[in-house]
Structures are given as structure tokens and as C-alpha cells.
Symmetry: C2
Subunit: 330 residues, 2 copies
């Protein structure tokens, strides 16, 4: 039995959106799997009723506290152990759930996941894995914002973590990894990136293709792109704003008729992040997926699917094994 | 008389593209201005003839050597003083020209500009200014790749340089400046960015609007976005690849008819970098504009216009004044 705990109080439109996402996911759940809704019991029950769902459709785990979107992460984690985030991750720690999903306070989910579940031995920092839509298969970029100043060793770690994710969840049997840089030549880049290159050069657990540039991400030059969380976060948020720009330009120049045609909708579906559901926090002992605060129900539903896949493929265990005496700690 | 020296040997399709760009610009040149074509005299003359232009249309400044696109910048600058880059910038140093434009080896143009023209006193590093197209006015992002590891003081300098450029060349009378970061809060970001925030907080020569995120660039949240050259270069190249992705998706989903309609061409014109002509190297004592190696003639023509504007507005002198005992060196 796989159990995924979903933070019913997380996100800009909670508990409605998480509950709707859970309802959408429930129809497609694999056998012997279960979604646990974590949050204020009465509110969840009322929301289920509002959506015409039976109260016993999901197991509800009561959590009286809620972490606000603007709260300081560490203070919130320490001061509100009975928040939906604290209770949801505590469940996983004690074996009552196999994964956790939240569209709530990102910093708090990161901090609580790291504190409550812990890191695999050898992992220096957890990384946020983000999927960038391309014309064909998505590209995993990490770190997406968990770590701003990264050491070469940490960047190296992200490559190993990313390669396991690409194999286990994205189905890339022999993943290629690139190091994000400002030029292809080995001697290019910041001090940390140059050293990371030297560390990655002799990797055998994945194909290290060397430096890649900003333009290489969308052309799908590799399965995994490694960068520090500052660069990753800036590029990720920049990309998220591109669809809006293109939409605005098309609306202005080409007109609403074309914009609303099914073919055009397919274009924007490719550029739509909620297709990928959320960003996994990788390197922790467990499964924790962080969704945008503004996630629609479809994103929650997709995050549930990704969490299930992560558990079924033993992603966390495989990441742990990679750091337990493997190349990554050489 | 304003004289702009154009590297006729720079770029992937030299001397054809620079010569075509010069011819296109010549028709729109302001009175008492001149384009000097710098490069191998015979090749330039032949190219002019090929395009049906009279040989005396431009002054040609002979430069026997050419710096290859793949050459090591410093070695090329030192080893080939008679290259079109060396001769063209030497002209400006001696007062024979007021600006320089090249689509050649970026590193070599940067190195030669810095060595031959020098930096304004107080400027720690020159910065590459890059214009990001948005739905309305373009946003200046700097540094675009000249400096990978930047100190807080250097980031502060970029803000002053950028504000002067926004005023002189982009016509923003009271420019707003944002610091690129992973969150809006003052305490966010890398060590260097946090310190830069503290340095910028009390600026009075421009409106410092605080931290901006990746998503704020395209919404035109401010006139100038400050970041180190690693982040700037990655986002710039990423953005350059977006038009290709969107074009590919539209081609696949919507079809060539719609794609080739004039309205759609206007959309791609907005996303087209060559509209802005090139990236100025800022902080040097003079005017030097770096174009993509793959620039079309229109980009060269636009770079000539920007160089003219930079000279006419006394951009370089204004940047120098900003650092001569002003806030930027406080």
C-alpha cells in the first residue's frame, strides 16, 4: 500500500484546490494506494461535501495549525509542529505515509522535510528539481532554489541526484548531465563551476556532457542540467513568465480567435508548468513535493502521480545508495 | 563630426554582413557622421563592389590581421595589434573615431576595449549591457557576461552604469533599477547580492526598487536589472532560445500558414534581438558595441544607430562623472 499525504491547507486557494486535485487523482489511482488529506478536519470535510464527494472518500488526518505563505520558514516549523506541514511530514517519518505534497510555504516545506525526514548520509544539501518543458521531453534543472551559494562538491552532488531522478521518474535509462555555464569550454565560468567541472569529468554513473549554456536547456541538450539554486531559480521564474509574454503578444498581434483555437491551446499546454505537477525536494530520506502556491487542481493531481512514481521506483533509496560509498562521495 | 569604426572582419559572415549593415545604415545616417570600415582593404572593396556600392562610399581603414572567433582573447589582442579589432579601437583611442562596433570574437573585443580605451576611474569592471525585449519597452540587464564572480561593490557599480545608459540611450528620464534575486525580501539571496542590496538601498541617482525575480524582467518591472555576468549570460542565452522553441511549437501545432502571417511576424519581431543591434560594453572610456557573431545586417545597422546615440548623448562621459566622486564610490 502506497500512502501519499497531501497538505490540504497549502496554497493560495486551500483547501479547495488540494481537495479538487485529490478528487481528480483518486479516479486514476493505482490499486493499493491512498491519499491522506492533512489539515483542519472540519474544513476538509466541508470542502469535500461542497464538491459532492463522500466524506469517507479519503482518510483525513487532522492538523489544527496552518503555516501562512508569508511566515518565516524555520520559525513556522518550530513554532507550529501541529501544522498540516508538520503533521504530514511527521506521518511519513513514522511510516504512516510514503510521500508528502504541499502547495504551501515553500521554505517551510523545505525546512520541515529536511529536519523531520533528514538527509541521506553524504548528501550535503537537498536540491529542488524543476522540470523545464521543451518541444519534446522535459529537462530536469537542479537546484531550483534551495541553495544560493553552492560549493563545487554540492554541485557535483546535484548531478548524481538528478541522474537518479531522470532514471527513476523520467525513464531515461542512461541520463546525460550538463553543467550550466556561460560557455562550452572547460576553463569558462565561476570558480565554483570550474571546480565542479573537474569533479564531474570522470563520472561513470551518467554521461557528463560538459558545460551547457542557457540556450541549450530548451533544445534538450541533456536530461539533467546542474546549477546553483540562484541561477536555477532565476531561470525557472523567467521561463514561467515567458508563456504570459507570448500570450500577451499573440493576443495583441494575432487576436483572440487564433489564440483560443485548440491548436494554440496545445502550444500553451506545452509551456504550462502544472503539467509537471510540482518540484521534488531531492536528497532527503523520503518523498516531498513542493507545488506552486498558485497551482491549479491539475498540478496537484500530477504531483500525486509523481509522488506515487517516486515511491514505486524507490527514488529516495536509490539516491541514498548513490551517496553511500559511490562515486558521489569519492 | 561623429565617426563610428565598424569591424568589417567580425562575425560569422564577414565581411559581407558588416558591409551590408553599413550600407543600410548609411541611408539613415545623421548629418556630419561617418562610418569607417576597418579590415582588409581589398576584401572590403570587393565586397562593396559586389553589393553595387561605390568604393568611396565609406572610408576604409586597412587592418591586415583578423582575430578568429575561436582564438583566446588576450593572446589575440596582444599577438595581433594590427587586427581589425586592434586597429579599430586604436583609432578611437587616438581620437580618429568615436565608437567601435564588432560582431567578432566577444572576448577579444572586451579585452581590447578595456586595454586600449581603459576604464573610467572608480569603475571596477566593465559590464555588458543587454536589452531584453518585453511586450512594451525593452529592459536593460547587466552584466550580460563580462564578469562571472562579482563583488557587492561591482554589482553596485552596474546599477549606476545601467541607470546612465537607461537615461542617455533608452530615454528613461528617471530610471528604476532592480537587483535580480530569488525573492523580494531584503534578506534573500547570495552573500554578494545581500551586500549589494545594502549598498544600493540609499541610492539617490536612480530609483532603486529593491529585489526583482526572474519573472519580473519580462513584465518590465524596472528599467534596469542588475546581476552578475554568470546569471545575466545564462538568462540572456536562455531567452534567445525561447523564440526558437515557440516558433517550433507553432509550426508543429498551428501550421506554417498562421506562422507566416504578418501578424505572427510582428510577434517574432518583438522577440528578435537584432532589433536592438548589439550589447554595449559599459564603464570603458569610449564606446564599444559587441554584436552576436550571427548578427544579420539589420543588427549591424541598429548597432551603428546605438553607437551614434551613445556618442551624441555623451554616455561614456556621464558614466565617468557618476564614478568621479559621486554616490557610486561613496
Amino acid at each position: 500500500m502506497i500512502r501519499i499525504a497531501l497538505d490540504a491547507m497549502g496554497g493560495d486557494f486551500a483547501p479547495d484546490v488540494p481537495v479538487e486535485g485529490a478528487l481528480a487523482a483518486a479516479d486514476e489511482l493505482p490499486p493499493s494506494s491512498e491519499i491522506l488529506l492533512v489539515g483542519r478536519q472540519t474544513e476538509i470535510e466541508e470542502t469535500l461535501a461542497k464538491h459532492g464527494a463522500q466524506a469517507d472518500r479519503f482518510q483525513i488526518v487532522d492538523a489544527p495549525d496552518v503555516v501562512g505563505m508569508g511566515e518565516k520558514p524555520l520559525a513556522a516549523v518550530r513554532g507550529k509542529p501541529k501544522s498540516s506541514i508538520g503533521i504530514g511530514l511527521g506521518l511519513q517519518k513514522r511510516g504512516g505515509a510514503d510521500g508528502f505534497i504541499s502547495a504551501g510555504n515553500t521554505g517551510a516545506v523545505m525546512a520541515a522535510s529536511t529536519i523531520l525526514l533528514g538527509l541521506h548520509p553524504g548528501v550535503q544539501r537537498p536540491a529542488i528539481g524543476t522540470l523545464f518543458p521543451t518541444g519534446s521531453e522535459p529537462v530536469l534543472v537542479l537546484d531550483g532554489g534551495a541553495n544560493v551559494d553552492c560549493s563545487p562538491r554540492e554541485l557535483q552532488g546535484f548531478a548524481y541526484i538528478g541522474a537518479v531522478y531522470a532514471r527513476d521518474v523520467l525513464g531515461r535509462s542512461n541520463p546525460t548531465v550538463g553543467l550550466l555555464n556561460i560557455g562550452e569550454e572547460e576553463e569558462k565560468g565561476s570558480a565554483a563551476v570550474k571546480e565542479a567541472y573537474a569533479l564531474l569529468k570522470h563520472s561513470t554513473h551518467f554521461q557528463f556532457i560538459g558545460n551547457v549554456e542557457g540556450r541549450d536547456i530548451l533544445r534538450g541538450a541533456c536530461d539533467v542540467v546542474v546549477c546553483d539554486g540562484f541561477v536555477g531559480n532565476v531561470v525557472l521564474k523567467f521561463y514561467e513568465s515567458v508563456a504570459r509574454l507570448v500570450h500577451g503578444l499573440l493576443d495583441r498581434e494575432v487576436g483572440r480567435d487564433v489564440l483560443e483555437a485548440p491548436a494554440m491551446q496545445r502550444v500553451f499546454k506545452v509551456l504550462d508548468y502544472s503539467e509537471y505537477g510540482g518540484a521534488p525536494l531531492l536528497g532527503i530520506r523520503g518523498v516531498s513535493i513542493i507545488c506552486h502556491g498558485s497551482s491549479p487542481p491539475r498540478a496537484i493531481k500530477n504531483a500525486i502521480r509523481v509522488a506515487m512514481q517516486s515511491v514505486q521506483s524507490h527514488l529516495s533509496q536509490h539516491i541514498g545508495a548513490e551517496f553511500a560509498g559511490g562515486e558521489a562521495v569519492a
